[in-house]
């Protein structure tokens, strides 16, 4: 205990010394002061912390990150960007982050369908909204982001705006001798009756150890329909923590799909607050892991009002020494009658050394609700495999066919065709090869 506490302080000391924390951002001084207090009091999670007991990312950061500063801005991004096959294939509005810092010079014009502003250009009333959905006290890494961000963006989708093309939030990452920690920050306000699809991904330009610690806050107004797709496909030395929080209002719908492939260690915290009646929150995830990759999805859906629905499906295929963690909290408050909340986590383990820790956590105070949860962890269905082989399909293809079918249920939740196609390609590559 003493040892881990020491490490915990060491990590805090490390980050407090960073240039990012020292950068003066007067408009956000209250948020930063509060976040600092939270961190000084609670510290970073240690091995015994309940919320992080399977994912000791603090230790991983302490062991591998020496420089808490941000890397210097990547030069020549314009050129790099045109080479990205995925980005070329998707017709959308690109919003580019250069090592976590938004850069409008590289981004596309919004066609008047939405506005994007730097945090430093926000009105005082807008500044006040930042940090209200993802509160610093909720998670130490969320607090670290609030304390460390030096810029961020607010995307404002006005009332009634229907954005047909997806918004592409692309974060280019390249750690260098100046630093290896970045803290991207986004606030999205979706107005009444608006519709948008947001695709988020990081592109790593080298394989240096890097810590990406993002926070996204979503305010989804009445009858807004927002879809959010996130692709996590870095390299074996990425450490990532993503805190995403959403307030969902009356008749609104928020759908999140997270696909995790290559990484060192990832922790995704996703929480949906279903704040008014008849709204819907959907959380889907797919993780295909090999090597020593460790991916932890913690989700939290809070049914605070009646007649809301939440659907959750996370699926994983793991091999080698990889590890998957799933924790799904569902809260149904006493007045949230007629709630429908469904949760499912299914895993296939392809090797003896792969591990899954899964935990549903339902707390239901209302009595007229439909809630279900289930988790399974098993091997590939041998009987199905034999059936396919008995029809002349080779063992490797039969295996890939079955695994792909398993993963397909989550991929089908992606509605942007070129992005779905790209994700399918990545999954095929994973499942077809030596995976």
């Amino acid at each position: 205990m003493t040892l881990s506490l020491k490490k915990d302080h060491k990590l805090l000391d490390l980050f407090l010394k960073s240039e990012s924390v020292k950068t003066d951002l007067p408009a956000f001084s209250d948020l930063k002061a509060e976040s600092r207090l939270v961190l000084e009091k609670a510290g970073f999670p240690v091995a015994k912390s309940e919320e992080y007991k399977y994912t000791n990312i603090s230790k991983k950061i302490a062991d591998t990150i020496e420089n808490p500063n941000a890397p210097s801005p990547i030069s020549g991004l314009e050129k790099v960007e045109t080479q990205q096959e995925l980005i070329q294939s998707i017709d959308g509005y690109r919003i580019i982050f250069n090592n976590g810092i938004p850069d409008f010079n590289l981004s596309d014009a919004a066609d008047g369908l939405f506005d994007v502003d730097y945090f430093t250009d926000l009105d005082p009333s807008e500044v006040k909204e930042i940090g209200k959905i993802e509160k610093s006290e909720k998670d130490p890494f969320s607090a670290l982001n609030s304390l460390s961000f030096t810029q961020g963006i607010k995307i404002n989708i006005p009332e009634g705006s229907v954005i047909k093309k997806p918004l592409l939030l692309i974060n280019y990452v390249k750690a260098d001798e100046n630093g290896s920690c970045i803290h991207p920050r986004v606030f999205i306000k979706a107005g009444k009756n608006s519709q948008a699809t947001i695709i988020e991904l990081s592109i790593y330009l080298n394989e240096e150890t890097v810590f990406v610690n993002s926070v996204s806050e979503w305010d989804v107004a009445q009858n807004a329909h927002i879809r959010h797709y996130k692709l996590q496909d870095g390299h074996k030395h990425t450490l990532e923590v993503h805190n995403t929080g959403a307030n969902v209002h009356r008749d609104a719908n928020l759908t999140s799909v997270v696909m995790s492939l290559e990484a060192g260690m990832i922790r995704n915290n996703l929480s949906l607050n279903l704040n008014a009646s008849n709204c819907e929150g959907n959380m889907y995830g797919l993780y295909l892991l090999n090597g020593k990759t460790h991916v932890d999805n913690h989700t939290n859906v809070d049914h605070t009002q009646p007649h809301c629905q939440s659907n959750e499906l996370y699926k994983g295929i793991l091999t080698d020494h990889s590890r998957g963690v799933f924790n799904g909290k569902i809260f149904v408050r006493q007045i949230a009658q007629k709630t429908n909340a469904f949760q499912q986590n299914n895993n296939i383990l392809l090797s003896e050394d792969a591990t899954v820790n899964t935990k549903p956590q339902l707390e239901i105070w209302a009595d007229d609700v439909k809630c279900s949860h289930g988790c399974t962890t098993g091997q590939l269905d041998e009987e199905a495999l034999f059936y396919l082989r008995a029809r002349g399909i080779g063992k490797e293809s039969a295996r890939a066919l079955l695994l792909y079918a398993f993963a397909g249920e989550v991929l089908d939740k992606i509605s942007v065709a070129p992005f779905k196609k790209y994700c399918e390609k990545l999954v095929h590559e994973r499942l077809g090869g030596s995976y």
Partner: protein, 253 residues
């Protein structure tokens, strides 16, 4: 075509087949009958290459090749087809995609060009008529939510598409009502030719009214204890299996 000599097999250390001898020539239909637990399904599974069965002795040659050396997929590609007693439901794998993958991998093995989408579709259409299978079923995931009869029809449909030289029907009649039984049998009969052969594994004689066998073999304790023509099946239907059991134990004593 198929020659089984002194075949012994066990599962998890328990011997199930204790010396099977069987010769099958092109154009023939053989029925394998026998009481529950006699080893009928095991024989079918061993021929198809199910891995939980261990062959402890004997040999099987198929068209001159050592069948036991081949993987399940290579046996299928060589022309062995097992119609499953319990076809597996596979959610997420579309019937059409599955069958096209199978057909083209079999064709590749035989050095034939793969079928393009158009040719494959017309092949499907042609064979669908044969087993009176509903096109809607084939747009669904493989066997998922199919009724017992639909699953068995789908087996025969797959058989029709893959055109095997040796078909092994493992209790295809189980769970079928008389109409479905007729449809399935009709399909099998249509596919019969002088170049291919069929093994019908069944507990009851009823299927053999529709698929008429040239030979009937009775399996008991993992051995073929009696062989005859279709009249033997009728005799079994009338008298049950006990007299065979008595006969076997009688000779043993």
């Amino acid at each position: 075509m198929l020659s089984v000599k002194n075949l012994h097999a066990s599962v998890e250390g328990t011997a199930i087949l204790n010396g099977i001898n069987l010769e099958i020539k092109p154009g023939e239909v053989h029925a394998i009958m026998g009481p529950n637990g006699s080893g009928k399904s095991t024989l079918a599974s061993v021929l198809a290459g199910r891995e939980e069965y261990e062959v402890t002795a004997g040999e099987v040659t198929f068209k001159g090749k050592d069948l036991l050396e081949l993987s399940p997929e290579d046996r299928a590609r060589e022309g062995v087809f097992l119609a499953f007693q319990y076809p597996v439901e596979i959610p997420g794998v579309s019937s059409t995609n599955f069958l096209r993958t199978a057909v083209n991998q079999v064709r590749e093995y035989r050095g034939q060009e793969p079928l393009d989408a158009v040719k494959f579709l017309s092949l499907m259409k042609e064979k669908m008529k044969l087993v009176e299978i509903d096109q809607k079923l084939l747009s669904r995931a493989l066997n998922e939510g199919f009724s017992g009869g639909e699953k068995k029809k789908n087996e025969i449909f797959q058989m029709a598409v893959l055109e095997p030289t040796l078909s092994i029907l493992d209790e295809t009649d189980s769970g079928l009502d008389i109409d479905a039984l007729k449809v399935v049998a009709h399909g099998v009969n249509q596919l019969k030719s002088k170049d291919n052969a069929t093994i019908v594994v069944t507990h009851y004689q009823r299927l053999l009214d529709y698929i008429v066998p040239d030979y009937v073999h009775v399996l008991f304790n993992g051995q073929i204890v009696k062989s005859g023509t279709k009249e033997l099946a009728l005799e079994l239907e009338e008298k049950g299996y006990d007299w065979i059991k008595d006969e076997v134990s009688g000779t043993a004593v």
